[in-house]
């Protein structure tokens, strides 16, 4: 049965089905439905909800809860995401699994509350300090908000890494029919690294201050090996009509929906257009992009920013084919017609 719900609520439903133990957050539009939902739901489930005193505190509470091996998450929107970066860097160093959600709004600064995709760099290139990565998922519907939230905890625990769902105010605020079709997860395997009080066993420690000669260097190498493994195993994307396409639009999240409509319109006008949609922004689907960049093909990147993911697309094709860009930011939204016109101009 399909239920009409907001993307933000679908995300919560996914986290609950995944067996979330604790939510920590602080209000900011356009993600307020998330803490509002958990403030009620976690009481019913006899689990933890804390409205922290700030985004910084909420992120550090997630760090603490994750260190005990529990399934935990926080959510925020762009300005709040900047505040969480210190704790995220620490969690990456401590190899703590958790879910972090950024329902992006217009920036920089306090910006506005419209949907935006201008936090791509922050999400995939670090955000905080140090040489680290997050797994970054980009849902493009309320259904995927549910499914990605559901899958993210397993993914985070598999690699002991924070997972970031990078979405935006439009996907979060929009209602769509959602099928809540996932089996609730329970009976989790105990983690051999979790800090669960050491009575009757050897004490464990989790720390990121590694001062002894060579220890931090070794730690960084281990992290990089893990990131390499994730790059090999966890890339996700969707292709649409790319087989014989001469113009391939590359877009994620809300932009990918608008792009798909534009590709359909272009096809109706006899233009061989296709779409590639990264579902994971890190690891980035570089290989498929490289393979699509055949001679005579043109790539067009569409984002609600002034050009961020386009840099990774250009790196992937390494000058082999032209990579064009179309984008709007600060609350502006690309229309299907905007994209269609751009596609026609490339023809």
């Amino acid at each position: 049965m399909k239920i009409l719900m907001k993307g933000n609520i679908a995300l919560c439903e996914g986290a609950v089905a995944a067996g979330i133990d604790a939510y920590f957050g602080y209000p900011i539009t356009p993600q307020n439905e998330v803490p509002a939902y958990f403030s009620k739901k976690m009481v019913e489930l006899n689990k933890v909800f804390v409205q922290a005193e700030s985004e910084i505190a909420a992120a550090n509470m997630v760090l603490g809860a994750a260190a005990t091996g529990k399934r935990t998450m926080t959510s925020t929107s762009s300005p709040g995401m900047s505040l969480k970066q210190e704790a995220i860097s620490y969690m990456a160093a401590l190899q703590l699994p958790a879910l972090i959600v950024n329902v992006q709004r217009g920036g920089p600064g306090l910006g506005n509350i419209s949907g935006s995709q201008a936090d791509y760099f922050q999400a995939v290139k670090g955000g905080g300090h140090g040489d680290y990565r997050l797994i970054v998922l980009a849902p493009n519907s309320a259904q995927e908000m549910y499914e990605f939230a559901y899958d993210s905890f397993d993914l985070a625990e598999k690699y002991r890494i924070p997972v970031l769902i990078l979405t935006d105010g439009m996907i979060g605020q929009m209602m769509e029919p959602v099928e809540l079709n996932k089996t609730p997860k329970k009976d989790f395997i105990e983690k051999d690294w979790a800090l669960t009080a050491c009575k009757g066993r050897e004490p464990r420690s989790i720390k990121s201050l590694l001062m002894r000669d060579g220890v931090l260097e070794k730690h960084n190498i281990n992290l990089q090996e893990k990131y390499k493994l994730i790059s090999q195993n966890e890339v996700q994307y969707e292709t649409y009509n790319t087989d014989n396409a001469e113009i391939i639009v590359i877009a994620y999240g809300i932009s990918s929906r608008i792009a798909k409509s534009a590709v359909k319109l272009a096809r109706q006008e006899g233009i061989k257009a296709g779409l590639l949609r990264p579902k994971t922004l890190w690891p980035f689907p570089s290989e498929i992009i490289k393979s699509l960049a055949k001679d005579g093909t043109k790539l067009l990147v569409a984002e609600l920013s002034h050009g961020q993911m386009v840099e990774d697309v250009r790196l992937a094709v390494n000058g082999k084919v032209p990579v064009e860009f179309i984008g709007k930011a600060g609350g502006g939204v690309l229309s299907e017609q905007d994209l269609l016109n751009k596609i026609k101009n490339l023809k």
Binding site: T29, G169, M170, M175, E336
Partner: protein, 194 residues
């Protein structure tokens, strides 16, 4: 079928709820649908709107770049969205509080939804759903059947009254006492348009 519907009015007139009802009606017909609110700074007395897209195909943008239907529950909303209307657009204007003297580029269906809700339904809060009922009838009229049309095809061409009435049961499932009165409101709006 591809409909982009804007429902606009004062905050408190139920434009968000009316939108969810239309989206729920689309689900009853197994159609694709999105609902998108004007969110944020609106408050009671300010303006608010929701955009509903209803389609037989999957939906790209949840925003209405080419709206083909508008419910304006107050005059500022009618003036705000009128420039985006085309000849094919269907407009329901709340004539209880919008004067009918003005010349508009597209002639709206003037429906006194507040009065109908107040006098016929005995609950002024149902004005939003009176307007939804009127819109469903107006879309039906403006989407004429072809020669081979039958009832199945009606469901492919437009949102049906039946879906909207069933949607009421879902939309008000937490307040069952409101189901019947809102069904009556939709029916009254539907019957008003000839």
């Amino acid at each position: 079928m591809y409909n982009e519907i804007i429902i606009a009015g004062f905050g408190g007139q139920g434009v968000l709820l009316a939108g969810t009802l239309v989206a729920q009606a689309a689900i009853e017909q197994d159609l694709h649908t999105t609902w998108f609110p004007s969110y944020g700074a609106e408050m009671r007395g300010g303006t608010a709107n929701s955009t509903v897209v209803v389609s037989t195909d999957e939906i790209g943008s949840p925003l209405a770049f080419n709206p083909n239907a508008l419910i304006a529950l107050n005059e500022p909303s009618l003036n705000k969205f009128m420039p985006r209307m085309t000849e094919k657009s269907v407009i329901i204007a709340n004539s209880s509080i919008i004067a009918q003297g003005t010349e508009y580029k597209i002639k709206p269906y003037f429906v006194p939804v507040t009065e109908i809700a107040d006098k016929e339904i005995k609950n002024v809060k149902t004005a939003n759903l009176v307007a939804v009922g009127a819109l469903i009838k107006a879309l039906e009229i403006n989407c004429p059947a072809d020669n081979k049309s039958d009832i199945c095809e009606l469901e492919k061409r437009v949102l049906t009254l039946k879906s909207a009435l069933t949607a009421c049961e879902k939309a008000f499932s937490s307040k069952p006492e409101l189901v019947e009165i809102n069904k009556k409101a939709i029916q009254a709006g539907y019957d008003y348009i000839k």
